[in-house]
Amino acid sequence: MASLKELKDRIASVKSTQKITKAKKMVAAAKLRRAQMAAEAARPYASQMEKVMASLASKVSIDENSSKLLAGTGKLDTHLLVVATSDRGLCGAFNANIVKEARLKAEKLLAEGHKVLFYMVGRKGIPIIKRFYPGQILKHFDTSTVKAPGYEEAKAIAADLTALVEEGKFDVAHLFYGKFKSALVQEPTVQQIIPIAVQDGAIAESEGAVDYEPDEEEILAALLPRNLTTQIFGALLENNASEQGASMTAMDNATRNAGDLIDNLTIVYNRSRQAAITTELIEIIAGAEAL
């Protein structure tokens, strides 16, 4: 049995841990609201962009001169997995889930005989990927210097990816991130970003003679990188909201667990204190009786 002093120290230590998790939970809750608002505010742009892309892509014929972002490289050999994770921990299984999804995909692609490379966004996924696929991380895009990844970062990532596909470093790119469902549920999601996946449903929408200025090809060429940026930006925002949501839930659990632990320890502490007092009393009484 631990001594009273040890128990007391233990309780104090758990209490201070609880203070930290509680603070982190409240910070995450505040950040979550902001992140969620940002994610929602970005939706009109993304949906508009998607509509326009779909109607344009259906009008332009794909030939060998088409942009690689639209047509791909004509091969399916090398797959680049863009894995977006967070820079900070204390968010439960959030990062682990995204990486797990990426590993599943990687295993599937490897089994099919494709080559797999990784492009890491955020710090937390790197150690795991490094362990399982040493030497296959093409690049790490550092987002830890900014508070929350924004459009500028998305733009830089998109430019990077475009340059890499032009160099022929990969043929197909998939983006992994945590889609925000609610503060409790974050869904690891995979999305093909290069070449772009055009949804069939959206095409038939804008019929009629539309004037293009300049012509379709040129507009499309201008839009493709922007569309890629928008998709990455959307993913980063979702990821940020998910991270905060996961963090909030994880920290809430941790706070509750710490509370339980404190209760149990307090009971043990009180019992041993009483036992000590009783022993002392018995000793005194026994001593008095002996006289």
Partner: protein, 85 residues
């Protein structure tokens, strides 16, 4: 005369969504004014000022936009800009 429905969207948010009289869009191949019931057009835009006339003959309001494109369809004018200032 019916008003033109005008939306200005950036990646961060929906900046404007109003009914206005006319908007002059700085297209890549030249500025063009969009009134209500304009024929469908899609154009990329230069880094320049959007000029918005809320009412006919009223004082114009300018918003400078960077990188993007404008689309006119039967619902109105939508300008997607990368950044505004």
């Amino acid at each position: 005369m019916a008003n033109l429905h005008f939306e200005l969207v950036t990646p961060e948010k929906l900046v404007r969504s109003d009914d206005v009289f006319m908007v002059v869009v700085p297209g890549t191949e030249g500025d063009f004014g969009v009134l209500a019931n304009h024929a469908p057009v899609m154009s990329t835009i230069r880094d320049a000022d959007l000029v918005i006339y809320a009412t006919e003959g009223g004082a114009p309001e300018t918003i400078s936009v960077r990188g993007g494109f404008a689309e006119v369809n039967d619902k109105g004018l939508t300008v997607l800009a990368e950044a505004i200032s």
